[in-house]
Every structure is written in structure tokens, then in C-alpha cells.
Amino acid sequence: MSEDRKIKLATCSLAGCFGCHMSLLDIDEKLFPLLKKVEFDRTPFTDIKKCGSCDIGIVEGGVSNVENVHVLKEFRKHCKVLVAMGACAITGGVPSLRNNIDLWDCFQEIYLYEGGLEGSQIPNDPELPLPLDKVYPVYEVVKIDYFLPGCPPSADTIWKFLTDLIAGREPKLSYEMLHYD
């Protein structure tokens, strides 16, 4: 990678809790040297809505609805390297606990039985992203180049991973950096 051009990085959170993004921010002061090499494209930090052509895309969260699929496919299309970050992206994680509850029961519980929603009904607005039958890990929908497990991966782990990747090294996590919780 030449010195003059910054690495373009995009991130997003699908069916996740943004915990991985919080962990990314937890890199704290080490973010400054990182930002000398990296320029953010679409991320929750920049408010850019569409992913441009990027070197690295990082996806947090599993695939739970139509919008998640579209965003994920957009990332795959525009990012040279796509990284699945966190337990939800890699296994479906906590959101996938819904996978063994019938979708109909989920809808009923949320829209019909939940207190304080009198006269409520199941919404059918096309604006609302329709949920998939299950929450899927991202690698079952698009090809993923790297996996960064953890719930969330620690700031140090993300930093190590990114600095390796940016420097053109195969990312290597120490034993203590590799965990699924």
C-alpha cells in the first residue's frame, strides 16, 4: 500500500447490538495513529449512507431481515476484503436465539400481546424490512474473507487485527485474543 493513499474502511451493524462498534471506539488513543492510515467510508460514525469502493469492510451482526441482506450484499460488492466481526456475524449470536421460536409467535408476542398496544395489528408497511425465517451468520449469505470472533472482540484485538491487515500481514490473534464471548 502506498503511503499517500489512505485505506478506505467501511463498517456496519446488521442484527447486532453495536457492541462491536463500541469496542472499536474503545481503541481510544491508538485510534489516532490508525486514522492516519485509514479513511472511513460508510460507518455509523460518518453518516455516509451508501458504501463506496472500499479496501476493507467490517460487518457486525447477523442477517435477520431484508435490509440486512441488502446492506451485506452492498458491502460485499464494494469491499475488497470483507470481515465478519463478533459472535452475531459469525454464528447468528444472541439474536439467533429466536431461531427456534416460530416467526408467527414472535410477531404475535411483539405486536398483539405486548401490553400498551391496544388495537394494535401486525404492520404491513412496505417501508419495514421483512424479517427472514431465521437469523443467519453473514458467511451463509456472502463470501467472507476474515473472521474476528468475540462478543465483542476487545479493543486490543480489533486494533491488532486491523494493524495486521493494513500492514498487509495475515492477521494473527494471540490465544487470549481469540474468544467467542
Binding site: 431484508v66 441482506v69 416467526l103 404492520p123 412496505p126 424490512p129 425465517d133 443467519y136 451463509e140 456472502v142
Partner: protein, 597 residues
């Protein structure tokens, strides 16, 4: 069924226990009878059986849960199971099953509301030369077509007991087209035992050794070595087991041997008993062949009367031996010898850890010889004649003959006995196969052979086989062959070890994906690696061979899948649009955004 009916369970089951006794080893046999009485295994019966056999309820339930022909819920007064082998499919099984279900207003796998009928698929029933085939309440139906199904539909609607149905529906032909030393010149019952006694036990074992006989179940282990080890293994009793669990799809030669050459087989078992010193033998008959049971019992009775079974066989003091028939209940894995022994002991058919091998620790942990039906038939002939007569046929490492069950695209499907060493192309001429594109040798667990290899020979040195040979012409879709076998193994894996239990499922999913038109080059690599894991890490032969058809297809038949693949590198593992179906239904949405293009 009403619960009050089960208050008489004791009374209803007492004949079952009278027949089988109260040993835990009889559990599977008892359960088969209970299933027949109620069309399922009632919870009350489980408690009752557990008490009488002094085993836990959960052990009884685990056995019910393992075998396909046993169930916790009613399968209806009539249960029609269509044989799902690739040969049945080639003869129109899927369309016929659909036709029949439509006619009976029934979904496959479901029981009709009036509890009259259920329809489903089952693994190959061994009628590939006269398919499409099915089982009705365990009895084989052959040569099915719409006309026959119309008749069956009427018989079921009128609630005619299966025992009163026209015999032609159940006709099973031998279809022997070629004979050599086994199927040719008939033997007189008792001749081989007599020859054995005259020659002496040690000399007969030497004769078997000199004959270089190898097991006919496919693995080809030296029979003489096996019997010698068993003979010298210490134990309180020794056992002989005939493996008639002919479950390999496409194999039906044991069916014919048991139907028309039972004496030859039983005589071989008796000789084995004399050699290893056994007094008890078992014939493990696959559940699909239970229709042969009555006939076999008659042959056994005749042999007892003739002094060929029972006490002091042929007047020789101390030569006591008898044979009991044990029925299987729908589990391919029970063809594996240690799983078969578990099943004989009344348990789920999970293969044991080996060593120890059955020759030292088999049935009830005692030295046991387990051999294929055809192996015992060979022994009879060797004992009656001699090793030189036997080795006159065959090749250097494969002496004698091999009985092949030939089916698929040929004019004369049936039984062909050849000297070992026969080339595939020679076989095609005999059975009337034209325009052959591929041959499956030895079933899904065997080898898929392409037309470039038709000079290959049936023998242990080249193409070993338990006897199945399925022929495919140029019209056939080889992907369907691999798919059929992937589904078969996913259904028949016993579930004991990780690589086979999970690997067979993953293999099935990926083959389905390719067949549905969503496969990519990535999926092919996945199939190869999963195949490698199953081959090298599995517990038994089932797992070791479960990828054979898929891998052979990938290696030898690129045309079968190449055009089906997406040009992309990667496709989702599942159908995205189908994954929205539920939510569309719930919300009533059908707009553009509620679909994936």
C-alpha cells in the same frame, strides 16, 4: 386409539412373550410384534415390556426411536412404504407415490385422519429387478404401476386385510439368468455336512483355507482366517451369525439365495458351527425380507426332522446346533457386523469399538463368526466338493464365483453368477444393457464407474462388490444418482460419530443446493473436503464410504453438475426468497420489497 384398549395390554401381549421369552435380547423381536398389533408402540406397552424384561423404560424407548419400522405414533392400519432406491426412481417411483397420495388425499409422511393409511418412502427394499416396489405393512409389493395402485387403493378403502389381497401383488421372482457353481447344480441337503464329517473338522478348515474363500459381504476378509481365530478364542459359548441384512441399495442376491437355496446357506452355517464349536446360530434377516421368514422356518423344520439341525446332527454325538431367525427393523447400519450383533442383542444398531473384534468378543461378548449369506453358501459347496474345484474359477486373489444383482437400464435385470474376474462390458452383453453411460458397483457405498473404465473386472483386485450392479444409460442424470445416495446416507447414519452424523447432513444439503441450481465452484470444494473428513475420520464403513458416489461424480462426471453451477464464486447457503415466505404470510405483504429478485 382409546386408552381403555390398553388396559388389556397384558392379555394382548402375552402370546408375544410366550413366543419370544423374557430375555432382554428379545426386545427388538418383541417390539416388532407389538408394532404389528397396534401399528405403533403404545406407552403402556413400553412400561409393560420394560418391567417384564427388567430393563429401563428409556432403553426400550431408545430402541423404538432407532429403527425405521418402529414408531411411537400410529402409522395407520395400512402403511405403504415406497422403496426409494435410484432404480425405483428410474422406474417412476416419485410419480407413482404422488399419484397414490393424490388418490388417497394424503400427504407423504402423514397419517390419514381416520388412521386408515400412511404413505412414505423407505430405503431400498431389495426388489430392484422388479420395481417400482413398496412394502405394505411389511409385505413386499412389486412391479407397481397405476393400475396396481388403483387396486391397492380399493383394497385399503374397503379395509381388506393385507393377508387377503391378491397374491399377484406380492409375487417376487428369482430372475436367475446366469449360473455357475453356486446356483447351478443343486446339492442334496446334508451332503456337505456329511462330507465335512467324513473329512474331519481340521481337514475341512484346511480345505476352506486352500479354497482362498473371502467374505462375500464386500470387505473380502479370509473366511478361513476368521474361523480359525474364532475357533481358538476362549469363551463360554461360540456363535454363528448369518448376515442376511441385505441393505445395500441395489443388492438382492441374498433374497434369492434364501428363497431358493436356503439349504445351501443353512448347511454352510452348520459346517461353520462344527468347525468353531458353536451350538447356536442366528440368521439376521432384514425386516424388508420378513416375507421369507415362514418359508425359512419351514426349511429349518425340515432340516431338524432330517437330522441336519438339532441334537446329534447326522447321528454324530455332541454335534448339536440350531438356528434362530432374528428380524431386523429397518436400519442399514445393521449390515455392519458389530452393529448387527448389537441389534441381535436387542439394542440399537450402533457399531462397536474395534478391537475387540467379533471373533473374540461378539454376541454376548463371546467368540462369534459373522458371515454373509453367500459366504456360507460357498462353504457348503467347498465342503461338498473341494478347494481345487472351487479355485478352478476366478482370479489369483478372488477364487470362485460372485453372484451379482443387476438392475437399472438393462433388458434383463436379475441375478447373474459369474466367475470372479468378469469384465463389466461382458456383463452388459448378457443382461442386455445398451448405450451404458455409468455403472454403480456395490451400491452407494461402492464405486461409480464411467464408460472409460468398462474393461475393469469384478474381483477383489479391481472392483470388489457385495453384489449390486446398477446400470445407467446416457439419458440418466448422474447428479440424481449422487443425490439419491447422499440422501440415503443422511437417513441411515446411525449418529454415533461426529463426522458421519454431521457430514452426511452437510453433504446432502450441498448436493441439494447444486441440484436446485444454486451451487458454485466453492460448493464443490466443500463437498470434497467433507468427503475427506467422512472417509478418514468416521467410526465405521458407513461413514468411510458415504461420500463415494459424490466424490466419484465430481471426479468422473463433470457434465453431470457443470451446467448446473452458477458462474459466481459464491451463492448463499439457503434460498433467500424462501426465507421470507413466512413473514410474507404473516404480514400479508407481497410488495417488491418483500421479495428478493
Amino acid at each position: 386409539m382409546d386408552s381403555c384398549e390398553f388396559s388389556q395390554i397384558e392379555q394382548q401381549l402375552s402370546p408375544v412373550f410366550e413366543q419370544h421369552g423374557y430375555e432382554a435380547q428379545k426386545l427388538l423381536q418383541i417390539l416388532l410384534d407389538v408394532q404389528e398389533i397396534y401399528s405403533f408402540i403404545p406407552d403402556e406397552a413400553i412400561t409393560y415390556i420394560a418391567n417384564l424384561l427388567s430393563v429401563s423404560r428409556v432403553s426400550v424407548k431408545a430402541v423404538v426411536d432407532f429403527y425405521s419400522f418402529l414408531s411411537f405414533k400410529s402409522v395407520g392400519e395400512y402403511r405403504v412404504l415406497f422403496s426409494d432406491n435410484i432404480t425405483d426412481q428410474m422406474l417412476g417411483k416419485n410419480e407413482l407415490m404422488q399419484y397414490f397420495c393424490k388418490k388417497m388425499w394424503l400427504e407423504p409422511g402423514k397419517v390419514s385422519e381416520d388412521n386408515l393409511l400412511s404413505v412414505d418412502s423407505t430405503s431400498c427394499t431389495g426388489m430392484c429387478d422388479q420395481g417400482p416396489a413398496a412394502l405394505v405393512n411389511g409385505w413386499p409389493l412389486t412391479n407397481l404401476d397405476q393400475q396396481r395402485l388403483d387396486l391397492i387403493a380399493k383394497l385399503i378403502r374397503d379395509r381388506n386385510p393385507v393377508s387377503t389381497w391378491p397374491a399377484m401383488l406380492f409375487e417376487v421372482k428369482d430372475n436367475i439368468y446366469r449360473s455357475e457353481i453356486l446356483l447351478g447344480k443343486p446339492s442334496v441337503a446334508g451332503a456337505a455336512i456329511k462330507a465335512t464329517l467324513e473329512r474331519g473338522v481340521a481337514a475341512t478348515l484346511s480345505e476352506i483355507e486352500a479354497s482362498k474363500l473371502r467374505g462375500r459381504g464386500g470387505a473380502g476378509y479370509s473366511t478361513a482366517n476368521k474361523w480359525s481365530s474364532c475357533r481358538t478364542s476362549p469363551g463360554t459359548a461360540h456363535y454363528i451369525v448369518c448376515n442376511a441384512d441385505e441393505g445395500e441399495p441395489g443388492t438382492f442376491k441374498d433374497r434369492v439365495l434364501l428363497n431358493s437355496y436356503a439349504d445351501l446357506v443353512l448347511e454352510g452355517m452348520t459346517i461353520a458351527a462344527k468347525i468353531i464349536g458353536a451350538t447356536q446360530g442366528f440368521l439376521y434377516l432384514r425386516g424388508e425380507y420378513r416375507y421369507l421368514r415362514r418359508k425359512l422356518e419351514e426349511v429349518l423344520a425340515q432340516r431338524r426332522t432330517a437330522g441336519l439341525l438339532g441334537r446329534s446332527i447326522l447321528g454324530e454325538l455332541g454335534f448339536d446346533f440350531d438356528i434362530e431367525i432374528h428380524l431386523g427393523a429397518g436400519a442399514y447400519i445393521c449390515g455392519e457386523e458389530s452393529a448387527l450383533i448389537e441389534s441381535l442383542e436387542g439394542k440399537s444398531g450402533r457399531p462397536r469399538n474395534r478391537p475387540p473384534f467379533p471373533v473374540t468378543h461378539g454376541y454376548l461378548d463371546q467368540p462369534t463368526v459373522v458371515d454373509n449369506v453367500e459366504t456360507f453358501a460357498c462353504v457348503s459347496k467347498i465342503a461338498e466338493y473341494d478347494s481345487a474345484w472351487f479355485t478352478a474359477l476366478g482370479t489369483a486373489q478372488s477364487s470362485g464365483s460372485k453372484i451379482l444383482s443387476i438392475s437399472g437400464d438393462c433388458a434383463r435385470p436379475g441375478i447373474y453368477e459369474y466367475p470372479f474376474g468378469v469384465a463389466l462390458y461382458e456383463i452388459f452383453d448378457d443382461c442386455g444393457a445398451e448405450d451404458v453411460h455409468a455403472v454403480q458397483v456395490s451400491g452407494p457405498s461402492g464405486t461409480l464407474v464411467s464408460c472409460k473404465e468398462f474393461r475393469r473386472r469384478i474381483c477383489f483386485e479391481d472392483l470388489p462388490t457385495a453384489g449390486a450392479l446398477i446400470i445407467f444409460n446416457r439419458e440418466r442424470d448422474i447428479l440424481q444418482v449422487a443425490l439419491n445416495s447422499a440422501h440415503f446416507f443422511a437417513y441411515e447414519s446411525c449418529g454415533f460419530c461426529t463426522p458421519c452424523r454431521v457430514g452426511t447432513q452437510l453433504q446432502k444439503k450441498i448436493i441439494d443446493k447444486i441440484s436446485d441450481g444454486y451451487g458454485t465452484a466453492y460448493d464443490l470444494e466443500e463437498l470434497k473436503y467433507i468427503g475427506h473428513i467422512m472417509r478418514t475420520m468416521s467410526h465405521c464403513g458407513l461413514g468411510h464410504t458415504a461420500a463415494n458416489q459424490v466424490i466419484d461424480m465430481l471426479d468422473k462426471f463433470p457434465d453431470a453438475y457443470k451446467n448446473k453451477l452458477k458462474k459466481l464464486v459464491f451463492e448463499p447457503a439457503f434460498d433467500l426468497d424462501r426465507a421470507l415466505e413466512k413473514a410474507r404470510k404473516i404480514t400479508g405483504r407481497d410488495d417488491k420489497l418483500a421479495h428478493f429478485p
